[in-house]
Amino acid sequence: MPDLLFEIGTEEMPANVVLPALDQMAQMMGEGLDGLRLSHGEIATYATPRRLAVLVSDTADRQPDREVEYKGPPAERAFTEDGDPTDAAFGFAKARGVDVGHLAVKETDNGVFVSVTVKEEGRPAVEVLPEMLTEIIAALDFPKTMRWGSLDVRFIRPIRWLVALLGSEVVPIQVAGLESSRVTWGHRALSPEPVELQDAADYLDALEQAYVIADHRLRRHTIIEQAQAIAAEVNGTAVLHDDIVNENHFLVEWPLCILGSFDQRYLELPDEVITTVMEKHQSYFPVAAESGALMAKFIVVANVAQDAADIVRAGNENVIGPRLADAEFYIQADTKITPEQSLDKLRRVTFLENLGTLYDKTTRLQVLAKWLCERIGADEAELATTQRAALLSKTDQISQMIGDTKLAGLQGTIGGYYALVAGEDRTVSQAIAEQYMPVAADSALPVTMAGALLAVADKIDNLASSFFVGAEPSGTKDPMGLRRQAHGIIAICMDRRLRFSLDDIVSLDMGLLPDLPEAQTPDIAKATARLNDFMAARIENFLQAAGVSYDIVRAVLATCWDDAVETIERAEALAGIRAEDGEFEAAVDTATRPANIVRPTDLPADVQVDAELFVEPIEQRLWDAHRECAEHVVAALSGRCDYLAAWEALKSLREPIDDYFIQVMVNVEDEQLRTNRLAVMRELDRLYLRFADFTQIVQ
C-alpha cells in the first residue's frame, strides 16, 4: 500500500512551536484516517524551520466497501393493514435508491420501523483526503498566529507550498491561495531548485539530496555529536542546555557546528553575563574546561556546508566580541557609581504610578525583612545581612546593564555582583542576587536565609502594592507576573517552613504605602481581602499539584487560615488522615451534623450557651466533652501544630454527638430551649472549623 505524505511548507517558524504542532498533526492525521476508514501503518512526523510533515506508511488508497443500515418510517405508516407499501415506503426506498421490495421491518426499543441495508462502495482515498488535510491546517493551534498579504488566513508564518501525495498521486487541496503538488523545496542556498517527488516514500532521501535533514531527531543528534566532538578537540565540553539545543535544531536544515573564539579578557566578566550573551543573544553553546570554568570559546550551529566554515566562524567571532564589549562597557560604567550614589538615584525613579520611588520600596523592604527576621527568630548577623541586602536590592535597576532589554533578565544577579565589587559582604551580595528567585515555576529557590527573606519581602510588596492600587491580575492579564510571584512566596515558605501571618505582613506593608490622590483612596480592608482570596487560589494550586484532593483543599481553605505553611501542612495532614484512618468517613459524618443544623438558621451572634437550660443529661455530657476537646484541640493546633492529636481529640466528640442526636431534638417549639441548643451546635461547629470545614468533604 502507498505512503501518504503531507507537508506544509512555510517561511521560517519560531523554534518553540514546531514540536507541539507536529504532535497535533500526527494526532489529527490518525483520527482523520480512522474517521475516513482508511487503514494505515505508522504515522511519522518530520520538521525543519520551513516545513511540518507527516508521513503515514501503508495507507489504504480506497475506503473499504461497507453495508449501512438506514432507518425509515414506522412500519405502521409504511405498510397498510394488508401489507401493501404506502407512499411513505416508496418515498423512503426511492431516497435510498432501492426497490421497495428490499425494505425490511425491524423491531427496536422505540417500536417497529422500516429499514434498508445498502451496500456502500468505498471511495478512493484521494477523493476523501482533501477535506481532512485541509481541516488539519485550519485546526492547528499555535500560541500566536499572523496574517500575510491580502489573505484572511491565519497561521504561524506564511504558508508557501503544500505537498500532499498518496504514493505517486497528488491529493488535491487548496489553502491560502496555494494548490498542493508533488514539489517541495530544499535548502535555500545549497539547493535552490524545486524538488519533485515521484513518490511519498522518497521524501527523506530526496530532501537529503537537497541538503535538508528533515528528521529533526537526527538533526538534534547530529548537532550534539558535532558540538561534543569539536569541544573535545580543544579539551573542553560543550555546555548543551536543552532549550538552546532545541532552539538550534529548529534553526537549521543542514547543521554544521563551528567552534569560534573570543578575547580571553572577557572571561573576567561574570559567568552569568557571558553565558547570557552567548545563549540568549546568539544561541551559541558555551564551552567549559575540565575544571568547569568557561573557556573563551563558543559553538555556533550554522546552516551551511563544510566549506563555508571559515567564513562563518570569522563572522561570528566578529559578533560575539562587540557583544561582550557591550557588557564590559556596562560594568565599567555601572561600577563607577557607588551603592550610595545609586541609592540616591533611586529616589528619582518611580516604582509604580502613585506609589513612590524605588527608594521608598527599598525602605519598605527593610521593614518587611526585619519583621520576617523577628518572626523566624533570625540572629543579629542574619538581621544585619537582610537589612543591608534590602537597602541595596534595587540599585541595579538604574544600571546600564539592566537597561539593556536583552540583559534585563540578569536583574538581581548583576546587583549582587556590583555589591561585591563595591566591597559589600558576600552574604549581602548573594541575598541581592537571590531576590527574584524562583524566576519560573520549579526553578531554583534562594540558597541563603537572607536571600529567602528578601525574596519573600519583595514579592509581598509587589502583591500588596498592586492590590492597593487595584492593579491586580485578571484573566490572562498579569503583566507583573503576580501569580508566579505568589507561587514563589509559597514555594520559598514551604522550602524553609517560614511561618508568619500573611494578613499581618500585608497590613504592615499597605500601611507603609504612600497616600493616593483623594479620588483613588483604596479601601485597605477590601484590598487585603482580595489579596487573601488571590493567595488562597495559589495555595489551592499548590496543594492540587501536590496531589491533595479538591475537597480537602476546600475544607481547609474554608476555615480562618492565615499562615500559608500552616494551611498547607494542615491540608496535607488531613489528606494523610483520610488515607490512614478507617474511621474517617464516620467521623466526618458526625462533624457535619452540628454545621448542618445550625448554619441555615439565623442564630444571633451574641447568643451564649447557658448550661442552666440543659434538660437531658446528654446535653451536659456533650457540653463537658466539648470543653475538654476544645482544650486538647487548641493545645494541639497552637504552637506545635500536632494535627493528629487534634484529629484524635475531635474524634472523641463522635460518641456524645451521635448520642445527643438520638436523644435530643434541637429544633423544638420552645424558643429559649431551641436557641440554647443551637448555640451548643454553633460552638461544636466552631471547634471543628479550627481544623477544617468538614461539610466540604465529599464522601
Binding site: 499572523m146 496574517r147 566549506d307 563555508a308 562563518v312 566580541g321 557591550d326 525613579v349
Partner: protein, 289 residues
C-alpha cells in the same frame, strides 16, 4: 564595496523592483519604521512599495564612539511592501546577492523576532535575519500600526547598513570602514558619536526634557483635534525621541516606563485614526492607480 556604494546598490535593487525611493525623513526617529512613509503608509487599504535610507537615533546605544559597532545614530535602509508579496523572502535574499554576498558561503538564518514598537502601538511577526551570527535585517509582517489592524499586511525590511558594510569590507570596527575611497566612517562619525554620547548620557537637561515631553504631547493633541495628522505626527516623533533621551539619562524607571509609553502610544493611535479617516475622505487615491 564602500559604504556609499552599498547604499547605491540597495537603492538600485529596490528601484528596479519597483519601489519608490524616498529620501530620509527630517525629524528624529528611533527607527526607519517610525517615518510616515512606513508607519502611516502601512495603514488603510492603499498599496505601496517604498524604500529609503533613514538615519535613526537610539540615544541609549551610544558608546562615545568607542564600541566597534554600537552607535547612538545609525543608518537603516527601510523597505515597505504592501501587500506583502509571496516571494518576499526570496527577493530579500536576492538583494543580499546584489550587494555581493555569496549565499552558499554564509550562514543566513531567519530567527524568530516578533517585533513590537510599544510607543507606536505597532507590532508584527517576523525575524531578525542573521548573517554569520550578525543581525543585519529586521523582517516584519506588520499586523498592527498606530494600534490599528493592518489590512492588507505589509512586509517591512529594515537593513542595518553599517553592520552590512562592515561585513562586506571584512572590518570589525566602524572606524576602519571606508565610507568612500578616501574617507572612513571613523573620520566622519567618531566625533559625532562622542559628543552625542556625552549629551545623551551626561549633559542633557533632564528638567528641560520633561518639560519638552509635556509640550510636544500637548501640541500633538492640539493638532490632532485640528485634523492635521501629518504635523501632529512630527510632534509624536519628538515626544518619542525625548522619551528616549530621558531613558538614556536614566530618568525613567522600568516601572515608570509603561505609563510614558502609553502616553506616546495614545498619541500615535489618534494620529493613525485621523490619518486613515482623512485618506478615506480623499477616496484612498492610491487605490485607483
Amino acid at each position: 564595496m564602500t559604504y556609499q556604494q552599498l547604499i547605491f546598490r540597495v537603492d538600485e535593487f529596490w528601484a528596479d523592483y519597483g519601489c519608490l525611493i524616498m529620501q530620509p525623513y527630517d525629524c528624529p526617529v528611533g527607527a526607519g519604521t517610525m517615518c510616515p512613509a512606513t508607519i502611516l503608509w502601512a495603514l488603510g487599504p492603499e498599496p505601496t512599495q517604498v524604500a529609503y535610507v533613514q538615519p535613526s537615533r537610539r540615544p541609549s546605544d551610544g558608546r562615545y564612539g568607542e564600541n566597534p559597532n554600537r552607535f547612538q545614530k545609525h543608518m537603516q535602509f527601510q523597505v515597505l511592501l504592501k501587500p506583502s508579496p509571496p516571494d518576499v523572502q526570496e527577493t530579500y535574499l536576492a538583494s543580499l546577492e546584489a550587494i555581493g554576498l555569496d549565499l552558499t558561503a554564509h550562514d543566513v538564518k531567519f530567527v524568530e523576532d516578533d517585533w513590537e514598537a510599544p510607543t507606536l502601538g505597532a507590532a508584527g511577526l517576523g525575524w531578525e535575519v542573521r548573517l554569520d551570527g550578525m543581525e543585519i535585517t529586521q523582517f516584519t509582517y506588520f499586523q498592527q500600526a498606530c494600534s490599528l489592524p493592518c489590512k492588507p499586511v505589509s512586509a517591512e525590511l529594515t537593513y542595518g547598513l553599517g553592520r552590512l558594510a562592515m561585513h562586506l569590507q571584512a572590518v570589525d570596527d566602524y572606524r576602519d570602514l571606508k565610507y568612500n575611497d578616501t574617507i572612513t566612517c571613523g573620520e566622519i562619525k567618531y566625533e559625532e558619536e562622542r559628543q552625542f554620547s556625552i549629551y545623551n548620557f551626561e549633559a542633557a537637561d533632564v528638567e528641560m526634557l520633561w518639560q519638552l515631553f509635556d509640550l510636544y504631547e500637548a501640541e500633538a493633541l492640539r493638532l490632532i483635534e485640528s485634523t492635521l495628522p501629518l504635523p501632529a505626527y512630527d510632534f509624536v516623533l519628538n515626544c518619542s525621541h525625548t522619551f528616549n533621551l530621558l531613558e538614556a539619562r536614566g530618568a525613567i524607571s522600568i516601572t515608570e516606563r509603561p505609563g510614558m509609553i502609553e502616553r506616546v502610544r495614545n498619541l500615535a493611535r489618534e494620529v493613525g485614526k485621523t490619518y486613515v479617516r482623512h485618506r478615506e475622505e480623499l477616496g484612498f487615491p492610491l487605490l485607483q492607480s
